[in-house]
Point group: C3
Chain length 457, copies 3
C-alpha cells in the first residue's frame, strides 16, 4: 500500500506549490512604499539629532512580531511534542506547514486587499502571515499523528483560503471586534480540524488511538517548552493589531486572564483527576485557555477584574472539558482530538465571543470616548470619513445591542463555515487516491522520518 | 497520613484565594489613566505623520517586560528541572506559584501606593509583579523537592507581603540604590528560603537528601534551557527600572559581569572539581552570579572594568561556595539548599551590596552631574522639589559616605527581616495540621503528578 | 597521556586571559558618551511630556540585540546538542567560548576604531561582540567533539583577531556590502573551521568518526530548540546593522528566504534520503541556509520573489551538499565536518556573495535614490562628505559593474584568508605540547565533564 512512488509524487507536488508561489510573487508582489528608498534626505542618514534618528529608524512593531513568531514555531511546535514517539513530526511538520502557509497566506490575503493589481508586503504582512499560520496548526492539533505530511499540507493550503475569506466576512463586512482572533483564528481552526477529524474517523470496530499514543516523561517536558512560550507571549498575540492605550489594555488583560486561568487549572486538575494528582495535559493546555477566552475582548473596557473572571471561567471549562467532554466525544462521536483543541481553542473561543457580545452591549460613547468608532466601526454613523493615512468607510450606525448581536452571529457563522470547510476537506483527504497512514503508523515518527536505532542511549 | 481529603482542602483553599483576589480586584483595581480612552484626537488614529504615530503608539518598555517574563517562567522553571524525577514540579509549580503570586504582588504593592483608595494597573505593574515573583521562586530553589505545593504556595503568599514591606522600607524610606534588586530581591529570597529550610530540617538521625535527589543527563540538559534564558535576559532584569543612559549602562555592565563570571566559573569548576572535570551545577548556576553581584551597582559609574571585576569575584565566590561551603552548611547546620541559592543569590547579593556601598562613597556631583539626585535621592538637599510628572520628596542631605553606610545597613536589615520572616513561616509550615512530604516522596514528581508508567521509552 | 597537571595548566592560562582582559579594559575601555550622565536637564527625568520622554529613554536597538543574543547562546548552543553524548559540551562550551570571545572581540575591534587612545563601549559594541562570537562558533561546528576545550578557546581567540582584520579589509577598505555577514562571518567561520579540521585530521588508517558520533531521539529534539531560535531570529541578525526602510527590507527578505528554504529542504530531504524518509540533519540545518544565502543582499532591492528564489536555491544546495558532497569530502579529503558547516554556512555564503555581485551590477541611482551611496559607499564620487553625526570618507567612484567585481573579490579573499588562518591555527593546535583527545574520547562529554552515572533514569 505504501509505495515510495506515491510518496515522491506528493513531495514533488509540494515543491510545485513552492515554485508556483515563487512565480506569483514575481508577478504580483512588491515591497510596500515604506520599504522603498525615499528621495528625501532622511533616508540617507542625515537626521539632525542622533537620538530622534534612532527612534524613527526602528520598526516599532518588530518586537511584537518576534514574540508571535516564537509562539507559532516554538510554541505550537513544542506544545505538540507531548507524544512520546512523535517529536520530530511535531516540531518538523509545524515548521514545514507554517513555512509554506505563511507564503500562501500573505498572497491570498493580499489578493483580498490588492491596490492597482499589486500586493504590497511589509512587516505587517509577516505578522498577518504568522497569525494565519496559527489556524492550520490548531487544526493539526486535532489530527496530530493521524495524517501524512502531504495530507496535512494540503489541508493547510485549503484551510488558509477559507479562513481568509471568513475573516474578510467577519471583520471587513460584518465588522465584528476580535483583535485577539478568538473567533476568526481559534474557533475557526478548532472546528475546522474537528470536522476533518470526524470525516477521517476509523470504522466503528476500530479504535482511533494508536499503540504509540501517550506521553513519556521526557516528551512531556519538551511540551512544557511550547506551553510556556505560548503562555508568555500570548499578550503579544492579542495586542499585536492594536495601538496605544488599546494595546496596553490588551496586554494587561491577557496577562491577568492567563494568570487566573493557570491557578484555576491547577486547582481543578487536582480536584477532578484520578487520585487528586495533577495532570500534565491540563497544565500544558488549559493554562492557555485564558488567553483564548480573553482574545475578542482584550482591548475592551472589561476591567482587570473582568480579565480575571474570564480567566477563571476559561480555565475551569477547559479542564472539565478534558476530563469529561473529550472522552464522551471520542467514544460517542468517534471524533478523535489528539491535543484536545476543543478544550484549548474551541470552547474558550465561544466563551470569548459571548463575552464580546456582552461587552459590546455595554459600550457607549461615554466610556470609550473617541475610540468607540475605532473599536466598533459599525457603530459609527454612515458617513464617509477620511483621515490622513486611510479612507475609512462609513459605519452602519449600529446600536450597542445590535453590535452584541453581530458578535454572536459572527461566532455561529464562523463555526458553520469551519465545519463545512473542514468536512469537505476531510472528504478529499479520504479519497482512495490519497495515501493514508496505516494503523501501526499512527503517532509514530518512524513512518516518515529516519529515527536513530538505539533510542535514548 | 496522606489522605486525599486533606489534599482537596488545600487546593480548595487556593481556589478560595483566587476568588478573593477576584473580589479585591473588582473593588479596588482600575486601569491606569494611560490605558484609558482619551478624549483627544490622537487616540482615534489621526496622527499627522504616520511614522510619529507608530512610535508613540507602542509601549516602549514592553520588550523589556517580555524578557523578564521569559526569565521568571522559562528561566526559573527550567533551571530547577535539573533533578531527574522532578521536572513536572519544577516547571509546573513555578508556573502555578508565579501565576498566583503576580496577582497578589500587584495588589499588595498597590496598597502601599494607593491613590484615592484605588490601585491603578499598567504595564509597569506587570513588570513589578514579575520581579516580585522572582522572590518566592528563589526561596523555592532552596526547598526544591521537599515541600508540598500547598506549603509552597502558602509560603509564597506570606513571603510576598514581607518582601513588599521590606522593599518599601529600603527603597522608599532608607532610599538605598538597588535597581537590579540584588538586596531587596535576591538576598531577601535566598535568606528567607534558607530560614524556612532550616526550620523544616529533618531530625538529626535523618538525612535530608532523598533517594531521588540528583540529576540525569537529560534533566541536566533541560536545566541548561533555564540557565541560558536567565543569562541572556539578565541585562533586561537589571535595567528594566531605569531609563536612558542609566539603562544602557546597566545593560552593558550586566553583560560584561556575566561574561566574566562565566569564564571564571568554568576555570574554577575545572580546578576545584573531582578529577578536574567540569561540574554542571557550577555551569548552570555560578555563571549567573555575575548578574546578581552587579545588580545593585549596574547603573552606577563602575566602568566596564568594574563590571568585569565584579563578575570575576562573583563567579569565584559562587563556585567555591558550591564546592566547599554548601557541604559544610548541609552537614553542620543541617540546612538543605537543593539548588544552592546561597551560592547563586545569597553571597553574590552581599557582594553587590558591598560594592554598592563602595561606589556610593565615590559618588560626587562632578561625575554623576544632574543624575546624582536621581540615582541617590537621599543625597539631595532637604527641599521639596517638583517636576512635571511627579512630586519628588526632598532628600535627606546625606553625604557620599553616609549613603555608603546606608547601603550596608540595607543588606543587613534585609537579611534580618528575611531570616525572621522565613523562620516564622517555617514554623507555620511545620505545624502538625499541615500535610508534609514523607521521606520517599522527596524530589519525586509522583507524589503530586500523574507520571507516565514507562518512562523514557 | 592525560595527566591532570596539563589540564590545570590550560585552565589556568584561560584564567590568565580573563585577568589580562580585565587589565586592558581598565586601561583602555570607557563608556561611550551616550552612556554617561549629561549636564542637560533631560537626563534628570524632567521631560516635558511623559510620552516623549519614555520614547527617548529606551534604547531602540535593544530588542534586536536580544534576538541575536538568543541566537548565539541558545541557537548555536542547542543546535550542536544533536550528538547523543555531547550535550553538556555543546551548550557549555558554546557559553564558555562565547563569554570569553565577546570580551576579546569588543576589545580587538575597538583597537581598530580607537579615538584618542580610548575604546568606547555601548550597546552597539555588545551587538558587535555577539556577531563576532558567531564566527568561532561556526568553526566549532566543523570540529565538534574532536577538540579539547582549551584547543577550542585558543582557536577562538586567534580566529577573532584574523576575522576582525579581514572584516576591516572587506568593509572599511574594499567597501563591499554585506549587512548580514554572509561573507565576513559565515564564509570566514566555515572555511576557517574546515581548514583547522583538515590539519587536525587523523592518520590515513584511522577513521575520524568516534564510536559516539550520531544522535539519539532526545538529543535530536534538543537540537530543534537551537534550530528554531536561529530560524526565528535570523531576520534580526541580518537587519541589526541597518536602519529604517533598509531594515524592514532586510527583515522581510530574510523571512521569505527562510520560508522558501524550509519548504525546499523538506521536499528534497524526502526525495534524496534513504527510503524517502525525512532526515533530521537536513531539517536542523538546511532550513537555515536561506538566512545565510540572503545575508549579503537582504537590504538590497531583490524583491520578495528574489528572496524566495534565493531561499529555494540555498535549501537545495544545502540538502544536496549534506547528501552527496559531505561524504565525499570526508572520504576523499578526510576533512571531518561534524555539523556540516560547509552545507549550512560555507556554500550558502558563496551563493550570497554571487547574488550580491549580481545585484550590485543592477544598482542604479534611479532605483536606490538617495540611499545608493549609503548602501554602496564606494560608488560615491571621491569627495569628502560630512554630516552631523559622522564624517564619511569620499567614495571611490566605482561603477555598478566594478562594485559587482569587488563583491566577488571579497568572497575569494575572505576564503583565502580563512583557509590560511585556519591552517596555521591548526598547526599550532597539533603541536606535540598541546593535549589532544584520544580516540575513545571523541564526541563524549565524559572526557571533560562529570556525567551522572545512571543516565536517563
Amino acid at each position: 500500500m505504501h509505495t515510495p512512488g506515491a510518496n515522491v509524487a506528493g513531495y514533488v507536488s509540494l515543491f510545485g506549490v513552492q515554485i508556483v508561489l515563487l512565480i506569483i510573487y514575481w508577478i504580483y508582489v512588491r515591497y510596500d512604499d515604506e520599504l522603498l528608498p525615499q528621495d528625501s534626505e532622511e533616508s540617507s542618514g542625515d537626521a539632525t539629532s542622533q537620538d530622534e534618528g534612532l527612534e524613527e529608524k526602528h520598526v516599532p512593531s518588530y518586537p511584537h512580531f518576534q514574540d508571535i513568531h516564537v509562539m507559532i514555531f516554538v510554541g505550537f511546535g513544542f506544545l505538540m511534542t507531548f507524544l512520546r514517539k512523535y517529536g520530530y513530526s511535531a516540531t518538523g511538520f509545524t515548521l514545514f506547514l507554517a513555512a509554506i502557509v505563511i507564503q500562501w497566506a500573505i498572497l491570498f490575503k493580499g489578493f483580498l486587499h490588492m491596490e492597482h493589481g499589486i500586493i504590497k508586503v511589509s512587516l505587517d504582512s509577516l505578522i498577518d502571515g504568522d497569525i494565519s499560520a496559527a489556524v492550520p496548526l490548531i487544526s493539526m492539533g486535532a489530527l496530530l499523528g493521524r495524517t501524512t505530511p502531504i495530507q496535512l499540507l494540503f489541508m493547510g493550503l485549503v484551510e488558509i483560503a477559507i479562513f481568509a475569506l471568513n475573516e474578510y466576512v467577519q471583520l471587513d463586512m460584518l465588522r465584528v471586534t476580535d483583535v485577539g482572533g478568538s473567533i476568526t483564528v481559534h474557533a475557526f481552526g478548532a472546528y475546522f480540524g474537528l470536522a476533518v477529524s470526524c470525516i477521517l474517523r476509523p470504522s466503528k470496530d476500530d479504535s482511533a488511538a494508536g499503540q504509540h499514543e501517550g506521553p513519556s516523561y521526557t516528551s512531556d517536558m519538551f511540551a512544557m517548552i511550547g506551553t510556556l512560550f505560548l503562555w508568555l507571549f500570548w499578550p503579544s498575540f492579542n495586542s499585536a493589531l492594536v495601538d496605544g492605550a488599546d494595546q496596553e489594555r490588551a496586554i494587561v488583560n491577557t496577562y491577568l486572564a492567563l494568570a487566573a486561568a493557570t491557578v484555576t487549572t491547577f486547582v481543578l486538575s487536582a480536584l477532578v483527576s484520578h487520585g487528586n494528582k495533577l495532570d500534565m495535559v491540563h497544565v500544558q493546555n488549559s493554562t492557555l485557555a485564558g488567553g483564548v477566552a480573553v482574545g475578542s475582548v482584550c482591548n475592551l473596557l472589561i476591567g482587570p477584574h473582568g480579565a480575571i473572571l474570564i480567566g477563571i471561567v476559561a480555565g475551569a471549562v477547559s479542564v472539565l472539558g478534558y476530563r469529561y467532554l473529550t472522552p464522551l466525544i471520542t467514544e460517542k462521536l468517534r471524533i478523535h482530538d489528539t491535543c484536545g483543541v476543543h478544550n484549548l481553542h474551541g470552547m474558550p473561543a465561544i466563551i470569548s465571543a459571548i463575552f464580546s457580545a456582552i461587552y459590546a452591549c455595554l459600550a457607549t460613547k461615554e466610556n470609550y470616548k473617541g475610540t468607540l468608532e475605532h473599536i466598533f466601526p459599525a457603530m459609527m454613523n454612515s458617513t464617509l470619513h477620511s483621515n490622513s493615512t486611510e479612507i475609512v468607510l462609513g459605519g452602519y450606525g449600529r446600536t450597542s445591542m445590535q453590535q452584541g448581536g453581530y458578535q454572536l452571529l459572527s461566532i455561529v457563522l464562523t463555526i458553520v463555515v469551519a465545519v463545512i470547510g473542514g468536512a469537505v476537506t476531510g472528504v478529499v483527504l479520504r479519497a482512495p487516491s490519497v495515501r493514508k497512514l496505516s494503523k501501526d503508523q499512527l503517532h509514530d515518527d518512524e513512518a516518515y522520518w529516519e529515527v536513530p536505532g538505539e533510542k535514548e542511549q
